[in-house]
């Protein structure tokens, strides 16, 4: 690789790095709070829940919980769906991302296994 090309590659890598870092920043900011982390954990383990359910057992007020959920929604981590008079909150991007990553892992294990199958039957 020529020095000029190497420099161009480096510049591109820096741009990519910057883009990733700034893209992740709102997520980090949103999770940088004890209450919000707990809300995410709760939605993680318990699935979608209403504000009343999320407020139960918490010493934080319903209004404060709503505000925290809105911050999380702003970072694309949760989303509120209106159901009747209540809003039900559920995990959004992270949930989908994780499910996808999980499938990806199983998928790549299949690729490896099928490679070995190929070696076995084609030998």
């Amino acid at each position: 690789m020529s020095p000029r090309r190497r420099e161009r590659e480096r510049a591109r890598a820096r741009e990519r790095g910057a883009a990733t870092a700034s893209g992740a920043a709102p997520v980090f900011a949103a999770l940088g709070d004890e209450t919000r982390l707990q809300l995410v954990s709760r939605l993680c383990s318990g699935g979608p829940a209403s504000i009343s359910r999320l407020t139960t057992g918490s010493h934080v007020t319903r209004q404060a919980i709503t505000k925290h959920l809105e911050v999380l929604a702003g970072a694309g981590l949760v989303r509120g769906v209106r159901r009747g008079r209540e809003r039900i909150w559920e995990l959004e991007a992270a949930r989908l991302g994780e499910a996808r990553r999980w499938l990806q892992e199983i998928s790549s294990r299949w690729d490896e296994a099928l490679d070995r199958l190929r070696q076995l039957v084609e030998e």
């Binding site: 980090f28 999770l31 940088g32 982390l37 995410v40 954990s41 993680c44 383990s45 699935g47 995990l91 992270a94 949930r95 989908l96 994780e98 499910a99 996808r100 990553r101 999980w102 499938l103 892992e105 199983i106 998928s107 299949w110 690729d111 296994a113 099928l114 070995r116 199958l117 190929r118 070696q119 076995l120 039957v121 084609e122």
Partner: protein
């Protein structure tokens, strides 16, 4: 891979006769060789429960259990199992299974194998998201590190 949250689909053409591929799929010893499981024996039969030990490095403490579903020689083999059952202390027996289907078709130059694993959407959300939960704990620790670093720098 199909872009679905419920299924994984793979298709490959193997340069081997259909009978050869069928043998590699439908007999325990041969299946174990490429899938990475020891202790499987004989030809698979419908309804049969099979159990073996995973031989992949790092996963040797795990066993693989499956129930044979359909066996249509040189056409279709299907199994049910618990996907990605990688935690030795978790009892997966009460969880729903995924269905794995191997379909064979003769094509020019060999045998086309289609593998479909489906039913992922029925797997408990809690299990799928366990990794995320670990990540969010990781994030909390990372944030503490950043905070410590920043406050030292100030």
């Amino acid at each position: 891979m199909a872009l679905s949250s419920d299924r994984i689909e793979k298709q490959i053409v193997l340069k081997a006769p259909r009978a050869r591929v069928w043998r590699a799929l439908s007999t325990g010893e041969e299946f174990g060789t490429w899938f990475g499981v020891s202790g499987l024996k004989g030809a698979f039969t419908p309804g049969q429960k099979v159990k073996g030990n995973i031989t992949h490095q790092g996963y040797e403490h795990l066993s693989m259990e499956a129930t044979v579903d359909q066996v249509q020689p040189e056409k279709l083999l299907s199994l049910r199992w618990h996907p990605h059952a990688v935690e030795a202390d978790v009892d997966y027996s009460q969880e729903p299974t995924t269905l794995v289907e191997f379909r064979l078709e003769e094509v020019s130059g060999g045998t086309q194998l289609t593998v479909v694993e489906s039913g992922f959407d029925r797997i408990p959300v809690a299990r799928r998201e366990k990794a995320f939960l670990r990540n969010s704990e990781g994030w909390a620790i990372q944030l503490q590190n950043v905070e410590r670093h920043v406050s030292q720098a100030a």
